[in-house]
């Protein structure tokens, strides 16, 4: 236990009592080479004997498992993104994700006016879909108006039922496209469809990311676990011990990333173990081993961080300016992630919190406030009885 035991940079394994800890191990997930094949999801389930997540078409591009759950310890997110509407500079040749580029109308169809405005609207409206709740004024169909009652708003209304909604299709209620009943994606409502020069519709990219437990330096789930089922391994990873967990559910709310989850019918909490059994025998975790394009890389965290920096610099040099590392820095709110990412857009686009912190950061202060409150309570009681002593 050290001075940064609750917050700030530290090496977690020695802090957790491993006097002779091996180097900290982790994942670097480079989404710029992810092809969304989902081998990681399947390899993980195969190795860890994880049940399926139900058979539900979610309509979230090719994501039909929705998110990380007790039954999906790897999860591939798919984001279809019209890039031009974002105002994002069109990436230079050689950049990573140039899609069909905008070209001028070639005039091969003289009778058809290039409906540029409609296209811009289409692309803009398209972001509605991507952005979910950010219902836009220019949005089309049922998404317009930013009304929180619209299915697209995903706002504070009860429509946001969450992913564990028992087999329902969360995408359909939680800010999903079809809720409003109209078209949602790239639909200029007043224009004759297809009258625009197709290539002008937008620049387009399809982002994919294999998400996983972050194995935080300061792990909210681990900190709050009352049984010690969650523990820090000698590799610095965070593992739930299924022989200990009693399913209190506290860890689920303790996680700032929404990773860990309780399995229905089983009652215990489950999440990625970073294949504790495999890495203990010197093997690569199942997902990283299967990953065809080395989007998921496993190794010593220090080395992975260097590798990630180099990759980031290369992408920046190639003009992919939106590339960023996520969870790599050890002075973020969780002391750095043992499983960190290279993203091509802002974290929240992928369903990641932009600036998470471990709740335990404020725990001492919380206890102090509770102490004051307790004293206040005592004081009130004393006052209540004061003057009645017989």
């Amino acid at each position: 236990m050290g001075s940064n035991s609750l917050y700030g940079p530290m090496d977690p394994a020695p802090d957790a009592g491993y006097t002779d800890a091996p180097p900290r191990m982790g994942f670097f997930t480079d989404t710029s080479v992810c092809i969304g094949c989902k081998a990681c999801e399947v390899a993980c389930k195969t190795w860890n004997d994880v049940p399926d997540d139900g058979f539900n078409l979610l309509g979230q591009s090719y994501d039909n498992t929705g998110g990380l759950t007790a039954n999906s310890w790897r999860h591939v997110a798919f984001i279809e993104q019209p890039a031009v509407a974002s105002g994002r500079p069109v990436a230079a040749p050689g950049a990573n994700v140039i899609a069909a580029r905008t070209v001028p109308d070639t005039g091969t169809a003289p009778g058809i006016a290039p409906a540029v405005d409609a296209l811009a609207a289409a692309a803009t409206a398209g972001t509605d879909f991507m952005d979910g709740p950010a219902a836009g004024g220019s949005g089309a169909g049922g998404c317009s108006g930013g009304s929180s009652s619209c299915g697209c708003s995903g706002g504070a209304s009860a429509s946001a039922s969450g992913p564990s909604g028992g087999g329902s299709a969360p995408g359909l209620v939680g800010g999903a496209p079809s809720g409003g009943g109209g078209q949602f994606l790239g639909m200029p409502t007043s224009e004759l469809p297809g009258t625009a020069a197709p290539a002008e519709r937008s620049d387009f990219r399809w982002l994919m990311m294999s998400n996983v437990c972050k194995h935080c330096t300061h792990a909210g789930c681990l900190d709050v676990c009352p049984t010690g089922a969650l523990f820090r391994t000698e590799f610095g990873t965070v593992v739930v011990q299924d022989d200990i967990c009693n399913g209190c559910g506290y860890c689920i709310s303790g996680c700032p990333y929404g990773v860990i989850d309780r399995r229905e019918g089983d009652g215990r909490a489950w999440k990625c173990t970073l294949c504790y059994d495999r890495i203990g025998d010197g093997l690569t975790p199942a997902c990283a081993k299967a990953c065809p394009t080395e989007s998921i890389q496993f190794g010593e965290l220090d080395e992975l961080r260097e590798r990630a920096q180099r990759r980031l610099e290369k992408l920046h040099a190639e003009g992919e300016t939106s590339a960023q590392l996520y969870g790599e820095s050890d002075d973020d709110g969780v002391g750095g992630d043992g499983a960190f990412f290279l993203l091509l857009d802002e974290p929240e686009v992928y369903g990641l919190p932009p600036d998470p912190h471990v709740p335990t950061r404020d725990l001492p202060h919380m206890w102090r406030r509770a102490g004051w409150a307790a004293l206040t309570m005592v004081g009130a009681a004393v006052v209540a009885f004061a003057g009645r002593r017989q």
Partner: protein, 189 residues
């Protein structure tokens, strides 16, 4: 188990006496966790294999314990795949061990409303009888001009792209010898 062992096994005691006062690591580790080992390490044997799905031909290692397949994963030695597998290849274990796999010969008699179970040997005999009967019934020794044909058009077959070369070889050899030329596979589709 003595009281002493019991006490020493109590994480709170380990917290108080060990290097992990907050109880977040070494002290909280259970016996089971401490003794974990990968099931590939304890397998009885490993078969070198190849993924059965597409034609990339990724190397697979099949781990067997007590005559059961316990894990299938990529073969890192393969210069084709370097140990990697796609989702289908990664699902090979469940392909092989699935409880949904049919393990019994099933028979549906003409106009039957449902399957019946059938003994394997009986099925083989019945199939052999039907092959010979269909062959005799539809045999074409020669065309109307006497040009030899030596064949039957009464029997056909489809499949082979998922099978081994050795199997395809026997299939083609046997069908050709019995005069059945209508033999096709996915390569035509």
């Amino acid at each position: 188990m003595g009281v002493k062992t019991w006490i020493e096994g109590w994480p709170v005691y380990r917290q108080l006496t060990g290097t992990d006062p907050l109880g977040r690591g070494a002290a909280a580790q259970s016996k089971k966790s401490k003794e974990l080992t990968a099931r590939t390490e304890t397998a009885d044997r490993v078969a070198k294999s190849v993924c059965p799905y597409c034609a990339v031909g990724c190397g697979q290692r099949i781990f067997v314990k007590d005559e059961k397949v316990v894990q299938i994963e990529g073969d890192p030695d393969s210069p084709v795949s370097r140990g990697r597998l796609c989702p289908k290849g990664s699902a090979s274990l469940s392909l092989v061990t699935s409880e949904r796999r049919q393990q019994k010969v099933l028979y549906r008699r003409p106009y039957g409303k449902d399957w019946e179970e059938l003994d394997l040997d009986t099925a083989m005999e019945m199939i052999a009888d039907r092959v010979l009967a269909a062959r005799d019934e539809t045999w074409q020794a020669a065309d109307e001009h006497g040009t030899p044909l030596n064949r039957t058009l009464g029997i056909s077959s489809l499949g082979g792209a998922t099978l081994d070369n050795e199997e395809n070889y026997l299939i083609k050899k046997l069908f050709t010898a019995m005069g059945a030329i209508q033999i096709e596979n996915q390569a035509r589709i």
